[in-house]
Assembly symmetry: C2
Homo-oligomer: 324 residues x 2
């Protein structure tokens, strides 16, 4: 079984060999650029690992895995336009480096290309692969819309937040794992367990992401902490804090949220002090562990022999230790 890092390497090699030598350059250069800026390659690696768990090989999963990575990068590209983000992976975003029109249209092409690669699979499983991908893609867009809607809402409940990240993040991770299982010839019961394994893993992954934005180590995580706080982003930490805060603490949070101009460090520290009073870090870690525990238990239910699951189990460690 290939490890997570080996699987990512296979994806990176495959991406480096795609031939996009195509006109017009304005359309394909941004796609090459987007794919070359890296990223964790988590989702396509999961497609390969999940496929290998059942079939013992990954050859037929490489193109569909690439399709999943293409789709993920398409969503980031369009999200960056919508969020007006100037930087992604330490590099200028497409709408900044080129322009917004090129970002819209090259994103559209990436969305189409993701279908092209994902459907490079055995004819027999094609209908279920397409159904899975259609449903997933729509859910991801719904998640993005809810996330944008949250920006203008004063209050978002924890349930609303969890529903949003399930749509925006978890279902694509779950679908990657399910896709691998389908490609690997798993039975329907195992396919469902794998989906749930991925969905819970995805929830843990996103909440960990929210946590690292505030409590992450700059050297390891690569981002200056507090970006979400500065942007008033409705993260798990903020939503949970507002749920359990006293009236006085709520006032302190909302005072920061409504400021039009502010010293970023002061704003981060003001919000952070409420988080610390409320033990938000521990509460978040507890929820991450809860999702990881569910995820582990889903993986246990899969009928494959235990030793084959080792590489996938390592993901739990990798995820929990992303900050170290």
């Amino acid at each position: 079984m290939y490890s997570f890092n080996e699987s990512r390497e296979i994806i990176n090699n495959t991406i480096s060999k795609i031939n996009f030598a195509d006109d017009p350059a304005e359309l394909f250069d941004p796609i090459k650029y987007t794919l070359s800026t890296g990223g964790k390659r988590l989702r396509p690696a999961l497609v390969l690992m999940s496929c290998e768990l059942f079939s013992g090989k990954i050859d037929e999963a490489i193109m569909p895995a690439l399709g999943i990575e293409m789709f993920h990068n398409f969503t980031l590209l369009h999200d960056d336009i919508m969020d007006k983000s100037p930087i992604r992976r330490n590099k200028p975003t497409i709408h900044k480096k080129w322009n917004e029109n090129i970002a819209i249209l090259s994103g559209d092409v990436m969305s189409i290309l993701s279908y092209k690669y994902i459907t490079k699979c055995n004819k027999e499983i094609l209908p279920s692969v397409i159904d899975l991908f259609n449903q997933t893609a729509i859910m991801v867009c719904k998640g993005q819309q809810y996330d944008m809607n949250f920006e203008t809402l004063q209050t978002v409940t924890v349930d609303e937040y969890l529903n949003m990240i399930e749509l925006k993040t978890s279902v694509l991770i779950a679908a990657s794992i399910k896709l691998g299982a389908i490609l690997g010839g798993a039975n329907q019961v195992d396919i469902n367990h794998m989906y749930n394994f991925g969905c819970n893993l995805g929830m843990a992954f996103q909440i960990q992401d929210d946590l690292l934005d505030v409590y992450g180590d700059l050297k390891v995580f690569g981002k200056k902490p507090g970006g979400d706080i500065i942007a008033n982003k409705k993260t798990y930490l903020l939503v949970k804090a507002l749920e359990i805060a006293s009236s006085e603490q709520k006032v302190r949070i909302y005072n920061q949220l409504k400021k039009k101009s502010f010293d970023t460090d002061k704003k981060i520290n003001a919000i952070l002090s409420v988080y610390n009073e409320l033990n938000i870090k521990d509460i978040s870690i507890a929820l991450i562990k809860e999702y990881l525990s569910k995820s582990k238990s889903d993986l246990e239910k899969v009928s494959s022999e235990n030793y084959k699951k080792e590489q996938l189990k390592e993901l739990f460690e990798i995820l929990l230790n992303r900050n170290k």
Copy 2:
């Protein structure tokens, strides 16, 4: 055989019955709105008519036809953002009525939904349906990019222009007809003839569109003439005029193109007088007839009995007489 108008009616009825009762409203209301604003329903009607030509029925073509219409409307929605068009079909465009983010994201969902509907077909033909659609969708995006590139070019050759409209307009019309033929169980030779029939029909259709913008009857065409002239759009008329114009006539055209502020009627009349001197109307009509003649000849080659082709042949008349 259903006529063109009957086929359009079937599509309109189907669209009116789709249940988009889905959250979040910000994502699905724009899709309902877009589909409810009408349009000619040319492409989905062609899917039905082409399918019926071979199979004698249309039931299995209705959902894929809807997918084609969904895709066409998705491209219009995103094109309208890129072109900053405030009005489409006499109604505010999505980015004007809602906002640009909602227009981007609801367009993305329409693109995904088009795959959902197009792939609602027999498992046996699914791979060829997907291949056709993937290739077509990418060509349409390329066409849009070339069209945008043309805006900043001083000179576009007639060949470059024809290549652009083939990608942006013709291939989707051709693909609609080919899709119908595949769904109707046509053999490969007929499928190819039908594709060529559609491609040539599409070329005629687009050049006719360019012509009607200048020489169309306001009462029938529903648009005030000269919109393309005002917008400096590189139409067949402009590209051809610049190809055959004398130095003096070129100067008169470029003088108009470079004006930042102008009286619209004066600008239209100035360009129109060059067109008239150069006989651009007749030259355009001759090219339209040339494409229609090729298109007719492609349809003749299709092995179906002649009487079955009558409804499709009527399209040539409908197209040529759009101005009356």
